[in-house]
Symmetry: D2
Subunit: 361 residues, 4 copies
């Protein structure tokens, strides 16, 4: 119940959106993993705002520094500390949030919980906190690849009511990065850009859905009861800012099927046990079955908008709020690397556990 995630591959994040900086400690990374700061930086660049007109214009260089745990290009097996300095601090831009609670933002709940709040930005509720997650996820990815786990590929599959039409299993990283929306369906991507830009001009915001596939995950990851693979994935993804829903495999749609339609028949392919369909989403009984893991995550429209809203101030008086200046009309494109990072963190943690507790050979 902390700013920590994972059991063997442990991640501890710190930092507010304003103050000295944000960062992460990755504790429990195996030793001798080749690691270059540029590999981490490139993931942070994907997460960074200001990549296109679609996202918040906040300019964050987000240069990461590795403080420890790496020596001559390989991990030491000791904690990898990483730091990104805060640069773009403009407290004045947030002055109005000191006294007035933004609707559906964390301002009020932070005050209710802590009785104190860094009003100069979103504090820990800022999307900026995810820098540490993405940096840690990049290391997780290195380990996964070294141990033979395939790529994790997420993309924006829905913005507002515009849905992408593409087979998630066939989406490539190149397709995802080809558009600023990170939607693999180029036709839908164009419509999404229009919708997001319209929201931006109106001072409004839109939400959507990110779909994610983890390829080539070995059978046997996940625990039978509380730490089912899908349970840990759900926690990981529901811990991302603005997420409101999670599905694996058939999800809510599958509730409308009969068992005889929903069950995934086993068959043999190249001598290996596979399923004909994948309504299970790659997990059965909490444990991976070797099929691709298929997830969907719902993100609500960004809370901070420029349109005037009814709200209250910290003294408990009703008032209105029109956020001035910049706003982020759609978090979806930037959520893609966040989703991938969280999935990779879950996978690597279960992979290491399985190495520890695998049947003796």
């Amino acid at each position: 119940m902390t700013s920590s995630f994972g059991n063997l591959f442990r991640v501890h994040t710190f930092g507010e959106s304003h103050g000295g900086g944000v960062g992460v400690i990755v504790d429990g990374c195996p030793p001798q993993i080749p690691l270059d700061v540029a590999e981490i930086q490139s993931e942070l660049d994907r997460r960074r705002p200001g990549q296109s007109i679609l996202t918040t214009p906040r300019q964050e260089a987000d240069q990461v520094e590795i403080l420890s745990g790496v020596f001559e290009g390989r991990t030491l097996g000791t904690p990898v500390g990483m730091l990104v300095r805060n640069k773009d601090a403009r407290p004045s831009a947030y002055a109005s949030f000191r006294d007035v609670y933004r609707p559906s933002h964390a301002d009020y709940t932070y005050d209710a919980k802590f009785g104190i709040r860094n009003w100069q930005g979103g504090g820990r509720a800022s999307a900026r906190e995810t820098i540490g997650r993405v940096a840690a996820g990049a290391i997780a990815r290195k380990v996964l690849t070294l141990y033979g786990v395939g790529p994790t590929i997420a993309f924006v599959s829905q913005v507002h009511d515009i849905e992408a039409k593409c087979d998630p299993l066939l989406v490539t990283r190149e397709q995802v990065e080809a558009t600023p929306t990170r939607c693999a369906d180029s036709e839908a991507a164009a419509a999404m850009i229009e919708r997001i830009d319209a929201a931006r001009r109106a001072g409004n915001s839109v939400g959507g859905v990110v779909t994610c596939v983890a390829h080539e995950v070995p059978a046997g990851l996940g625990e039978p009861v509380f730490d089912k693979l899908e349970a840990d994935l759900a926690k990981a993804l529901m811990s991302l800012p603005a997420s409101k829903g999670f599905e694996i495999g058939s999800g809510f749609e599958g509730t409308r099927m009969f068992g005889s339609e929903h069950n995934d028949p086993f068959h043999i392919v190249d001598g290996r046990i596979r399923t004909r369909t994948n309504r299970s989403g790659g997990v059965q009984g909490g444990i991976s079955n070797g099929e691709p893991i298929l997830l969907r995550i719902a993100f609500k429209p960004t809370a901070t908008i420029r349109i005037e809203q009814d709200t209250v101030d910290v003294q408990g008086h009703e008032t209105t709020l029109s956020a001035s200046g910049r706003h982020d009309p759609c978090v979806l494109p930037r959520a893609v690397p966040m989703v991938e990072a969280m999935v990779n963190l879950v996978l690597v943690d279960h992979l290491l556990r399985q190495r520890a507790l695998a049947p003796p050979s």
Copy 2:
């Protein structure tokens, strides 16, 4: 990554569906909590199969014994051990599952993970494992009530494509218990009964959705980053057998709204800060805001059906399987107390943490 759940109010379950018994240790329950075994038994009775024709005919008395941690009707502050003996062991009923993997069940993944499996039933994947959860949840409920947290009320809101029409916030425990489907809308309940019974007669199964409301949760529960209240709830509920999806507040539907529609405006009611709408589902920035917490959980149709299915055997040959004997056509009604238990376990854990880390007064 274990059979444990929670940080301060910790729950450890054990037991396969066949063998000596199933049970739970509740560690971290405050001392001096009045506790009667009958209160735990009554929750177990709600979870028990064989309550109506709608559920599995397996006869389980499920009498719970408190082994420790309670003295003269009050908790000692030490671990509360609870045990339910297995009675209805009929290995022969499961003999066909020793060599053939049930589609979409955990048979195959257990073998892939552990290289060994108790084929005399579902092992840890059996719904029987949830006995420990429900028993622990009953204790959590006692603590919550003592500390002023209101009731948690779940109900079956959808079976197959039949949806209940009722306001979740107004549903009462009495309404829920009035029908064997645990659906508060009596008209929908009748249709659900028919649908479940048809599936049963056909040797098939159906899934559905459980909706849950946690009433009178104080503002301030939940942590800003990984242990957001919704993240812990998602993990808790996605760890239930057969769950495939989770939503809080507006969930997936909310992704189709503009921010200006989705945000919950604050206003003042009786001197207290409230929201006009509750699309946030009672949580903002991972922390409860004092509004009711509103959840939906998708359950797939039960995997074990009597209809013949394609599958493989443990030697890797393709074959077919027709499960003989009893089967559970719909897990939804029994899932209701499981959902409530998991929600209560999450709430009590965060409540205790907030007592530890609340601002000094």
Copy 3:
């Protein structure tokens, strides 16, 4: 901060000395480990009181039942639940402790902490709680042996001011079990028996020291910082009832040496790096170096004696107490299997972690 121990090989104990029973869940045991209930029972028999006149005459059959996690003689990889029923409940024997605090016992501190106490015996402070530890330790031993880690052998090296004269590295299990004192030096053992019996007759008690050697521990177990192997061993052993001190290797005596005397020179033996001396006690920088691990644990004289003592009652009045009936004049012989169990639990936990996080090969 619970009744749990370990990270990967996790142990959860429950039970008071009076009530339904005491037991343990072992969660995180690898699958397919051969396990017979008789192997666990034989360790419990070593721990059991009433084995000789030297120990408490309390008659406890302590028959263990495996409730889960074992199937056809092998572990399933799921939680192993074990239960020992309480049989010898005689609340009347403890009636005087309801109102009067035994000096140096846990009666007062339990009341201070919990505001409630099971006065019918020692509650969780009873040596009876260690049943769960010893049962879990027996499973840990099975895993360690399977993975090539040598035996852990503890013995009583001091009772009151009588010290054994024998080389701890050469002590065998047979020597230890040859006398009721579990002292490998037969001459000292005879003197110890006399001393303990004299204390018993006088209604008094004596303490002493247990020495323990873990043989054939591979180099590389233990973590650099907080979870140093010696730190986890210290915690494990200082968690045993009545322990007051812990040493590894040279311990307190080593503080009187110069660095040039204390350092263990490396040399090569049979192509392997060894140390000439072992003042480090098998651990350097928190990590095992492949030499035997050498520990000493101080146990105070048992608190419950029959001699009249000054004390206070629960109402806060000064009074005196003469415990009637049985008492245990010396816990040392029974502490031997407890010490071995705790050491084995620490070793297996670090061994599994090292399997998870070893350098990729």
Copy 4:
């Protein structure tokens, strides 16, 4: 099994002696605690080498920066990140350690465990790692004081065979800081200085004992079984570099007493239950009893000496090593703030837990 310590008040350290820096995240500090960077710096200054001729001449400015978690002089309730840059990096001074293992140092065990090692200094085994602990301990102390827990005062009670003669309960911080040895007995302090300086000139090193008293600890802290207060203290202190032994209260000496001599009689003082003696060291049954907590920790002589020693190189050849340049002849004076920090971290963690799980009032 990580670089983390504590359950509610959690501390995560990172950093090698060489590389970007060392630091710590403190997660779980209550909000609104007044905190000034100067308070942390002053504790770091006590820990810093180069304070006198007695310690290593390594010049480390050790200026701490608070990166997060503090706003306008008060804690936010979010993780407090702290960083100290490494300044004095001189890899050449360590070049000889790249290929040759220092006896009784962690060089060999790190290679055995990780297969890689930052040979430019001690890596995580360096005393420099304790910077994070001392910084975190300073925050723990702030919380403890705010919640009414008295000071924790440690001092050097033995160097080599020179023992201080003073009552630990009466030692003040001023006395401790009055001499560079941090020994409260000025006569013994003078002899210690001479001994340490002689060792330094000879290129040798000496060990000793630190005694620590935690004053005004409320009754009720600590858990009955594995997380006994003395067990957590033992782990905390045995995790400090070079520690080889731990005692609480009567320790090893108490093993030579009869129960009738050792038990601490209760009596009433000013209406409060106290003990006449304190052989328990302030803890009974794992739980504090309101008396001062009294500890002793043994530190071996520093491993790195300038005298020539037999050893082996990384290729497995026997050789000799004479460490050139600076060495630290005695770690004891600097260990004093480390010991206090670790004790404070244990106390605050148990204090917060007791707030969470105290009996309902």
